[in-house]
Amino acid sequence: MYQLTDVSRVYKQKNRTVTALKDVTLTIPDGQMVAIQGPTGGGKSTLLQMLGALDRPTNGAIELDGTVLTKLGDAKLGSVRGSDIGIVFQGFNLIPTLTAQENVETALVPQKAPAAERAQRARAALESVGLGERAEHLPGELSGGQQQRVAIARALVKEPRVLLADEPTGNLDEETRDEIMELLEGLWRDRGLTLIIVTHDSAVARRAQRRLHIKQGHVREVA
């Protein structure tokens, strides 16, 4: 469960300051599927980065299952990212020189899993997203949807408690978008994940149990 208390994030840019999040207090129970919407520059991605332990708030506290992330050092935060949080990016962010199988295996490196175990778990993850036969392909040899499936497999192979997705369907056509969303929903249901999706797409947001709208750093619930 996430607990955010009075979280603010201020960026200093040359001669001005930008408040991306302002006094956000929020609770996200385990196993919930949450969609975060809002205009560009409203603070969606910043909030996701806070939840993903990729950044630290200027003020406030973030807890994940009782662990106060804001008090952890960089190494510990990295460790939390490596074991508890899976992240899917809009641009897939696959390493172009590694095969699909190897890209998935990179997520197991922080866990220091043995090579054989890494290979076996990565293959299973790829099969779970329907890409078992494409394991040896490079990202450049895969379609956008396939690349996002690989990214999802990479996020899930370490069996995290939380899956964060930043515009996971933003670069995909409608048909592929629906495929990816079905895949994510299925995994969420099957694995009991906490799934938090940042999206512009209302069709995607409507699939979520809970919808949050963020504008000028303020978060509100959408009925």
Binding site: R81, G82, I95, T97, Q111
Partner: protein, 529 residues
């Protein structure tokens, strides 16, 4: 994962890998070639010096050259004196055959004493020391008019440039002499002689020779009229073991022939005789022209040099390094070229290679910002990312080092196959090494002069004993040796060169990795968004 990721990255960025590897390879190859050639030049210099000063000689002590005192012996002009009864008169009584040989210290040379040698030997850090007396033997031989010709019959001699003396008769045409008209024909020949201590063989000129025939000088030769000849001189003069050679009108038995350890060079002198005999014949009792010193260890050389300079006045104390500066010729030029251009070129290329590697690595890290941001986002530690970047750079350096080692070895092989011949001249005229030493350094110091005097009018014959440059005193003061350059290769050089390439890779990797580790994942991901 580390190995696969590294292999894939290097394989997919071939151009960068090749450029960095080529830069490193060039630097490594240059370092190997320059170091090998430099070592070869040093060996050649040592070889050139050894042919003159002997193997193991660390320091030489010579007397500071002195102003000629105008008398015979050291420093004075060459002079031959003939009495009325000298030589043999021809049967017709009109010509006089003369032959006189002198053994003298080279003009302008100062001398040391046995006490100096004892002082040197007692100095801390001196392992062994020996003294030598460097001399020039000059022989005057030829046909002159009978010494009584044109005179009143009571006194001979030469009074002027081809003219009869005042006391002589002037009303009759000159007769006799080499041409029957009062003329002369004579030749003057000189060669170098080195008086060496037969009991000392650890240091000195004879330590750098090999015996090619007969025997060398040993303890039993002290006080004996025996000589060992330089092989080149023996060949030129058609002399062999068992023959005799005349020094200062004394016949010496030739007991041995020696050659330089380097087949292309000559030894330090034409003739070697026992030191005590050389001192007696030259009238330089107790005198030495040089002292050769071997230090206990290479580390002691500077200290010994300083100690000797304090203890010995009016002397020049030179180390091998000082002696090396007396080497001139193409060997010296090659040495300067390697020391200056080669070394700086190596440093420049090495610096450029390092810079290229660092810039490419930093550029690579910048290009891979999203990649490293993603890896951080999925939990990779900074150490892991730094290790990945450093590993990639290290392998690039290793490839460059390996290729460079091969290219460098090929370069050295080519140098050794071509084996350029370098000429080395050692010593200088009456120079800082002392005239004696320099004369000793004259490996080809045979000076021969001849004159045919007289034009039938009795006006051309030059006077004798009137000074002039002196024969022998002007004997050659430098030894010119041709040495084929051999560039040695040592494992140390290869290891050092490859080590430099690895260091370059590591440095580039460390800097690139440091930059990668400073990336904050959110910023890294945001920067490409």
């Amino acid at each position: 994962m580390f190995g696969r990721y590294l292999r894939r990255e290097l394989g997919n960025r071939r151009r960068q890998t090749v450029i960095i590897a080529i830069g490193m390879a060039l630097a490594v190859a240059l370092v190997i070639v320059v170091n090998a050639v430099s070592a070869g030049v040093k060996d050649a210099q040592a070889q050139a010096l050894a042919s003159v000063y002997g193997v193991g000689t660390d320091i030489t002590v010579t007397s500071t050259p002195q102003r000629p005192d105008g008398t015979t012996g050291q420093g004075g002009p060459q002079q031959f004196d003939f009495g009325a009864q000298d030589g043999s008169t021809s049967t017709d009584g009109e010509t006089q055959e003369v032959n006189q040989s002198r053994l003298e210290v080279a003009r302008g040379s100062g001398t040391l004493t046995a006490a100096n040698l004892a002082t040197v030997a007692k100095t801390d850090g001196v392992a062994s020391a020996t003294g030598v007396l460097s001399l020039t033997n000059s022989t005057f031989s030829g046909t002159l008019p009978t010494f009584t010709q044109g005179q009143d019959g009571t006194q001979g001699g030469f009074a002027g440039p081809g003219q009869s003396s005042d006391s002589g008769s002037t009303d009759s045409a000159p007769t006799g002499g080499a041409d029957g008209a009062g003329g002369s024909s004579f030749g003057i020949e000189s060669f170098t002689v080195l008086g060496v201590d037969p009991t000392a063989d650890a240091v000195g000129p004879l330590s750098a020779v090999t015996l090619s025939d007969g025997v060398g000088l040993d303890k039993s030769d002290v006080g004996k009229d025996v000589a060992v000849l330089d092989s080149s001189y023996a060949t030129t003069e058609d002399l062999a073991v068992g023959d005799t050679i005349t020094l200062a009108d004394t016949d010496f038995e030739i007991v041995g022939i020696v050659a330089s350890t380097d087949s292309s060079s000559e030894t330090a002198a034409n003739v070697y005789i026992p030191l005590d005999v050389a001192q007696t014949l030259s009238g330089e009792e107790d005198a030495l022209t040089s002292i050769y010193v071997s230090a206990d260890s290479a580390d002691d050389i500077d200290a010994v040099q300083t100690a000797l300079e304090k203890k010995l006045e009016n002397t020049t104390v030179s180390t091998q390094a000082d002696l090396a500066s007396t080497v001139s010729g193409s060997l010296s030029s090659a040495g300067s070229l390697v020391a200056n251009l080669g070394t700086w070129l190596s440093i420049l290329v090495l610096a450029a290679a390092f810079l290229i590697a660092i810039l490419f690595t930093i550029s690579g890290v910048t290009r891979r910002t999203r990649e490293f941001g993603t890896l951080k986002a999925i939990g990779w530690s900074n150490r892991r990312i730094v290790g990945q970047v450093a590993g990639e750079s290290l392998v690039q350096g290793l490839i460059g080092g390996a290729v460079g080692a091969v290219v460098g070895l090929a370069g050295v092989l080519i140098v050794n196959l071509v084996a350029p011949t370098l000429s080395a001249s050692v010593g200088s005229t009456g120079g800082r090494m002392g005239g004696g030493t320099d004369a000793a350094a004259g490996a080809a110091p045979t000076a021969a002069a001849s004159a045919a005097a007289g034009d039938g009018t009795g006006q051309a014959a030059g006077g004798f004993g009137g000074g002039g440059p002196g024969f022998g005193g002007g004997a050659s003061t430098s030894s010119t040796t041709d040495i084929a350059l051999h560039a040695p290769i040592t494992l140390w050089i290869i290891a050092a060169a490859v080590g430099l390439a690895l260091l370059g890779g590591l440095l580039a990797g460390a800097i690139g990795g440091w930059r990668a580790s400073r990336l904050r994942p959110a910023e890294a991901l945001r920067s490409v968004a």
